[in-house]
Symmetry: C2
Subunit: 364 residues, 2 copies
């Protein structure tokens, strides 16, 4: 079983290929893209240990000249310095306009590789081979690339589209469970904001908290539907002027929680889970969403093993202040994405600080 999602944008088109066990065929797929001979594979040592050989052998077998560059794992390495190192490697190996940078990794590797590809010789070919669930369903799609500024996440970057997104769900077998759940939080998000069927499929599945309990077919289906949801949204709004905001469902509060906990104790997926629960309650209190559907959402979040209460160490006044600082604030109003039914959300700036505070109290 192989899924292919065509992505058609005003000035470019590419495919997202999702096939269990496809990794050894990567080279063959790339042969259709008329790339130059040189490919620089960028990864981190953890991921490269697992999948580096498969990828490199496949590329060599298909006639590519392969170079590799490994960056230590983790968000702290998502910096302009790491990009400068990629440039040095690109120069050393004489990458040309027709050459390719290929990201083999999670969102950190994908974002950096994309930015380096966007800016080396003003843009060379870029291939995404996402290996984390979050990268598969979120980070690898939509063309956002970039690095962190010492004082803020993702402040430096470019919109740049890959020539191919190549997803082998089977590589998730080595992904740490906490990372898996973080990705599942985004999958649930797509169910709530866009795809009722996806939501229903997740609900019907008995266990969702680890990969072991999932059939190959089920996994491929939910990844495919999630990718399709993101593609639907970003194709209608490539540069983030309107609709794309709905992808921030659960993220308004999520980001505040993440930044207050220093991105350590609570990870992105956990924070987004809490954010979705809070947004659901807010929507219910505003009379926009039924209690029943809001509870169905919360149960799903619980089922993937994410916490459904907010750590009591979190100071609610701090959260409210942090929300005010967030870039999604327009003219002093916090913009919330709120569900109206499963598969549909609206954007609202009618959410008062009191309401947010009340809902957060309930979640402690």
């Amino acid at each position: 079983m192989s899924s292919v999602i065509p992505v058609t944008l005003p000035h470019t088109a590419y495919e997202i290929v999702i096939t269990s066990g496809c990794l050894p065929q990567l080279g063959e797929y790339l042969n259709h893209l008329k790339l130059g001979q040189k490919i620089l594979v960028i990864s981190n040592p953890e991921i490269y240990d697992y999948y580096g050989d498969i990828v490199v052998n496949s590329l060599i077998k298909s006639g590519f000249e392969v170079y590799t560059h490994l960056i230590p794992p983790g968000e702290p390495y998502k910096t302009l310095d790491s990009i400068a190192q990629i440039y040095d490697i690109a120069f050393k190996n004489r990458l040309e306009r027709a050459s390719t940078m290929l990201a083999l990794g999670g969102g950190v590797i994908g974002d950096m590789t994309g930015f380096a590809a966007a800016t080396w010789l003003r843009g060379i070919n870029f291939i995404q081979v996402p290996t984390s669930l979050l990268a598969m369903v979120d980070a690898s799609i939509g063309g956002k690339t970039g690095v962190n500024h010492p004082q803020g996440k993702n402040l430096i970057g470019a919109f740049y589209q890959p020539r191919l997104v190549f997803i082998d769900p089977l590589v998730l077998k080595t992904l740490p469970v906490r990372e898996f759940r973080a990705g599942m939080a985004e999958v649930i998000k797509y169910g709530v904001i866009w795809d009722q069927d996806l939501f229903n499929q997740l609900e019907t599945q008995k266990e969702l908290d680890t990969l072991e309990n999932l059939e190959k077919e089920f996994l491929q289906t939910i990844i495919t539907r999630s990718c399709q949801a993101k593609v639907d949204v970003v194709s209608q709004d490539e540069k983030e002027s309107g609709l794309r905001a709905i992808l921030n469902y659960g993220h308004t509060l999520g980001h505040a929680i993440e930044s207050l906990t220093g991105y350590n104790t609570i990870n992105h997926g956990e924070a987004v889970g809490m954010g979705m629960i809070a947004a659901g309650k807010i929507a219910f209190k505003l009379g926009m969403w039924t209690e029943k559907e809001s509870q169905r959402q919360d149960k799903l979040i619980e089922k993937i093993g994410l916490p459904i209460t907010i750590s009591s160490s979190l100071n609610i006044a701090d959260v409210l202040e942090s929300l005010q600082m967030d870039k999604k604030v327009k003219a002093g109003k916090v913009r919330f994405i709120l569900p109206t039914e499963i598969g549909k959300v609206i954007i609202s700036d009618r959410v008062s600080a009191e309401l947010i505070e009340g809902v957060m109290q309930e979640l402690i």
Copy 2:
């Protein structure tokens, strides 16, 4: 007298405004663009000393909140480090998506400011106020932005279009004469490759070697025609796949000469002048161009005060080798842009090393 050139590209449109004495009106022009309130003016101390106050006062009078950042003059500062410093300033002053970076300077400042604007928050508003002739007629148009890699010029960058190019030819009065002539080399280039009328106008003008000899109207006309020529070419080929190559007329050999002399003794304009003379002779020897027209070109180059012989210290074997390394080489063949009549060129890979060598011998 005011000239306005509309630039229409697939996904954006903007204007090039060319008006003698317009600098104090900059703020009013920007008011039409619906920019956010914050503008970061990026310049170098030399240029800022002359024109900083005029620009900043005009912006403040129009209600903008103005920040400035100065980078030391010169190509050695066109680095990723300088960009990182711009990011720091952008962060410190909380530039937002709707904010603007404005380049007040020559091509070095323009290229860097454009790249910083392209990559801060994945793209904020960018305004070009070119102050050198070369920046007015060449660097500020076409969307190429970027910086140098320690081991090669312009290897890092992005295609990014400004919201406005705002040209006041009168600022050229303070431009060093050697820089003026470098810009004039590009003006002649447009005459030869694209605009016969421009060429004729330059020919009719008695003296061309310094700005003092030029009428305001004449200066504005040749700048406008040059900008129009570049716009014509790049609009048909935004991302440099075909036609845009003709802008490299005189540059194939020019770059080789520049890089061999270490970008110091011979500057860009001088090298391009020599390159055009050589290309003209090659075209003549291949029977593509008349000797008469080729001599008309050489006379014009002489009239703007550029050297018409190649320094004997230049080793011709080195030049030929350097040509082979150039990025304009396709499959081992050096691609030359050759005139067929004034205002028309073709792209040829029929130029043998012997022919190049012979022509260069003649120029010593």
